[in-house]
Each structure stands twice: as C-alpha cells, then as structure tokens.
Symmetry: C2
Subunit: 215 residues, 2 copies
C-alpha cells in the first residue's frame, strides 16, 4: 500500500521537524533559562506558536520532550561510572564526579531540568500533595536503587533500603551540588572527596570537640 509508505515518509519528516524544533527550543533554554517563553522558542525556530502546540501539546510536553534527552544522556554517563570495575569507593567517587561535572559544565540545562516550572496536569485530581521534585531526580534515585540492589547484599527488606539510600544519595548530590555551584567554595575533586567521606561514615567516626560533654 502506497498509503502506508507515504505516511511512513511523512512520519519521518515530521520526526525531523520535531527534532529541529527541539533544537531551537534547546538554544533558547540555554539562553533564557527555565522560563523561556513559547513565543521566544517559536521565533527562534522561525515559526509561530500554534505549530509548537501541534507538535508537543502544551508547554509541559515540550519541556518533557526536551528534558528526556538530557536526562537520558546524564543517566548514561552515570551508568558507565557506576559500572566501572574498580573499588566501590572509586565507583562512588566517579559517580559523584560525573554528576557534578554535568551540572558544572551545563548549568542552564541543569536549572531547566531541576526547575520544571510546574508543568503538571494535576490540580483538579484532589490535592496532589508532594508532587514537587523533578522527574530527573526521581529517575536518578530509582536507577541508583537498582544498582545498589544488584550489587550489594542487603538481606531481607533490602529493596526498601536500597530505594531509601538511592533517593537519599541522589538528594545529597543535588543539595550539595546546588550549593557548590552557587558558591564555588572548593574544587570539584575536594567536594567529591568530602561527600564520599560523608557516605563512608565519617560523620559517625570523627571525635567530639574537646570541651563538650561526651555524647
């Protein structure tokens, strides 16, 4: 049937158009941060708004499509760091470093990914309590949990432990990384070392200050 063939070709061209639009959107997001307007994106792509809406539905759709790429890229980087056949400590440090390198080298993208500007469809479905964190962080946490479950022998209930740790560690990376990116109080290597130390239990190991009552 020629019809299917034609529709196939059409499909490929629309896919290509979609990619072009995404690239234009990316340029604008890179320039304007997370509050790039649809008008600006359309202008950058040389067209007008309704086309964007035909392709992506709404702003959330465009942002989701755009976020997916970077999220995938970052996850791939982290996966290789997590799979390196070295000591566990080195793997953890490599993972931390990969994340921090990503947010350091493309901070605008990072801000965009973390700050979805409420691109949600809820708000009618009862109260949608607590739906705040970025999808990227959730995915990262789940991926890390999988790796932990695969690699470590956590005994009974270990799956829950792995998920708690996964999301906790990702949150730690995010929080510390965000602060570090803003204040730049030290080099990336230093930060990685300090965070790995924290995960290695140094908080519990170091001594109390002299003079304070012993806890």
């Amino acid at each position: 049937m020629e019809r299917t063939e034609r529709s196939g070709r059409q499909h490929s061209t629309t896919e290509r158009r979609r990619r072009e639009l995404l690239e234009a959107a990316e340029r604008i997001v890179l320039r304007d941060g997370p509050d790039a307007s649809m008008n600006a994106i359309a202008a950058e792509a040389g067209i007008t708004k309704p086309i964007l809406y035909r392709h992506f539905g709404d702003k959330g759709g465009l942002y989701r499509a755009l976020a997916l790429r970077h999220t995938d890229a970052l996850l791939a980087n982290l996966a290789t760091a997590l799979d390196a056949p070295v000591l566990r400590r080195d793997r953890v440090e490599a993972t931390l470093d990969a994340y921090l390198l990503a947010i350091e080298s493309q901070p605008q993208v990072y801000r965009f990914l973390m700050h979805p500007s409420d691109g949600d469809t809820a708000s009618e479905t009862g109260f949608d309590v607590g739906r705040h964190s970025a999808p990227l962080l959730r995915r990262l946490g789940e991926e890390l949990a999988k790796v932990i479950t695969d690699r470590l022998d956590l005994g009974p209930g270990g799956e829950l432990t792995a998920r708690v740790w996964g999301h906790g560690i990702v949150g730690m990376m995010h929080g510390a990384g965000d602060w570090w990116l803003r204040e730049r109080p030290c080099t990336r290597e230093q930060l990685v070392t300090q965070l790995a130390d924290l995960l290695w239990g140094q908080l519990a190991a170091v001594a109390d200050r002299e003079g304070g009552p012993g806890f």
Copy 2:
C-alpha cells in the same frame, strides 16, 4: 510629641494589618498550593491587589514574608532536636524525624517553601547561574554546618567539610523526604533508621552480593 506617638500607633496598626494579610495569604496558600494568585489572596483578605503591593512590594516579598515564619518555626524545631543531650546517633535521628514530621504534617506548606516559583529579582544582573534551590534549604544547610563545626573536631579545613556535609545531609533529607512523601513506602521511623544507617557508613560496610566479582 504627639506626632511620634501617633506614628507609633499607626505603625502598630499597620503591623497588625500586615499580620492579617499574611494570615489570609496563608489560608490561600494552604488551599491553592504554591501558585496562589495575588488576586485570590486579596479577595480572601477582603481587599484588592494594590494594597498587597503596598505592603509587600511584589509577590516575592509576600512569599518571602510568609516563608520566613514557617522557616523560623521549622528551624526552631530542628535546633531543639540538634541540641538534645543524647548520643550523636540519637540526635541525628531526632533531627531527621523532626524534618520528616514537619513535611508530613503540612505538605502544602512544605511544597510552598520548596517551590519558590521564581520570586527573584535577578535576570538582568548578568547570568545568575544556579540560583535554583529554595532559601529554606540553604538556611538549613548553613545551620547544620554551624552545628557540625561546633560539635565535631574536624581538624584543619574542617569548616569547609562541615558546610559540605551540612548541605549534603540537608539535600539527603530533602530528596528522600520528597520521595517518601510521594510514595509512602514505609513508616517514618523506618525511613529515619535507614537514613541514619546510610550516614553511619553502612553503604561502605555491607558485603558485595555473592556471585559478583569482589571489588
């Protein structure tokens, strides 16, 4: 001088009005989440928009004033947890629990505090890279860093270590808490224990899974 007395009384009445407006705003934020509009808040207070702007300057000002209360309250709670004269592990658990209890019992407030909806004044002052995280998290991180510096003997460069750990731990609480609040995979006590285990170096201590090559 009657003038000063009068202006003093005027001051107190405007302060009172301000408090009333803040309470109305709080009611609306509690109801509508972080994207409560100025119109809605003004309507709830029985007045119209310009008065809000006279009192708070702009939306960011209102939100900052509103956030300050809750932030202070939460910080006070955490401070008492951090100051309890018990074992370090118990103090850490009490702090984690205090934070999680807060976000659990008032999730709308929590969302509001974490999601500032870009109430910033930057955007002209060059690129303001990385200014994303909520002020609450920054304050928490710094407070925790202070406590760590005060209590622990971290040797040279310890101040930097304390700040990294402070923001890292706060990020961990935030990330894990956000995920937990959304999925409710376990009780609060369980979550607290798991996170404390993580901070106590269990990630480094547990054995590799059998079958995998020893790292």
